[in-house]
Amino acid sequence: MNESLLLSSVVIGFSLIVAAVAFGSAVGDGIVSSKAVEAIARQPEARPNIFTFMFLGVGVLEAFPIIALGLGLYLFFVVSGAPTGIPQVLKSLAGH
């Protein structure tokens, strides 16, 4: 009982982390690219420059969801017992 409670809370926590960072980074990426498209439409001759800084923005922005994914996987691994953590969680979810 205690173990399944721990496993389910780890899964829920991991899902919340991934959902939150996916939402945030998707909104951020959308804002960056929409502004880049607007800027290119206004000044087509500045397109290489805008692309450069768009990729800088996207690269800096994408670091945060990836760091959060790393921390979430760390939670997943360590709390549910590395290195067999994920198969164990999936097997318990599958009802083995």
Binding site: N49, F55, L56, V58, E62, I67, G70, L73, P87, L90
Partner: protein, 244 residues
């Protein structure tokens, strides 16, 4: 095969202590590879009459990075362009060498050296100290003046911002490459454990994932090498900016 993510085989050296042997050997291999590659590339420049495809391709990349550095720093950024080009190509090659499964074949090296925090911290410190030394060499004591801009009360905030630069530079590169390897590791765990949910074979369905993850890793590795280079350029331009 027992392999755990984030664990490295160690060497104990007399003065420096414990070092990660796989990271070191892979970095040396990439250095040799990069030197050979650029020697070959340089030797193909002997005939200016006939521009080959390799020359045209790499001239485009080098010109683009050079224009970027000169456009951001100004004309006096021209002599730092080789540094940024070598940073970009070296980190790009370090990121992409993890694509080849040397470690999985049982060799004592393999994996991306940039998935080791020691590597990325070393590069971030090199860039940070290099920028400070350049700023002090070009501006003397005036290099510290931008810490008290726009007014002196912001001095502690500016110092924290300055110290946060190498930390974020190293952690961003490290986590991006490390999570790429971690994702492969997780998928391998799922595939190798043979999980069925009812009649659905989850392990078989997960076998498509490494293919997609390698595309993601290639994109992320290129993007992070570029972001590392461009942030170095921006930090150098901020540190050596002329007074208005």
């Amino acid at each position: 095969m027992h392999q755990q993510i984030g664990e490295h085989p160690n060497w104990v050296w007399p003065i420096v202590g414990t070092v990660h042997s796989d990271t070191l050997i892979t970095t040396w291999g990439v250095m040799v590879l990069a030197l050979l590659f650029f020697a070959w590339l340089g030797s193909s420049y002997r005939s200016p009459a006939r521009v080959r495809r390799t020359q045209a391709t790499f001239e485009g990349i080098v010109n683009w990075l050079g224009d970027l550095a000169i456009g951001t720093i100004g004309r006096r950024g021209e002599r730092y362009v080789p540094v940024f080009i070598s940073i970009f190509f070296f980190i790009f090659m370090l990121n992409q060498i993890g694509f080849f499964p040397f470690k999985e074949l049982g060799l004592p090296f393999g994996g991306s050296p940039t998935a080791d925090l020691n590597t990325t911290v070393a590069y971030a410190i090199i860039v940070y100290l290099g920028i400070w030394i350049t700023a002090i060499a070009s501006g003397g004591i005036g290099a510290f003046k931008h810490l008290s801009q726009p007014f002196a009360a912001l001095l502690p905030l500016n110092i924290i911002e300055d110290l946060a630069r190498p930390i974020t530079l190293s952690l961003r590169l490290f986590f991006n490459i490390f999570v790429g390897e971690l994702l492969i590791f997780v998928v391998v765990q799922i595939i190798s454990s043979g999980i069925h949910i009812g009649a659905f074979d989850l392990s078989l369905a997960a076998a498509i994932m490494p293919f997609l993850i390698q595309f993601f890793n290639f994109f992320v590795g290129t993007l992070q090498a570029f972001v590392f280079t461009l942030l170095s350029i921006v930090y150098l331009s901020l540190a050596t900016a002329e007074e208005h």
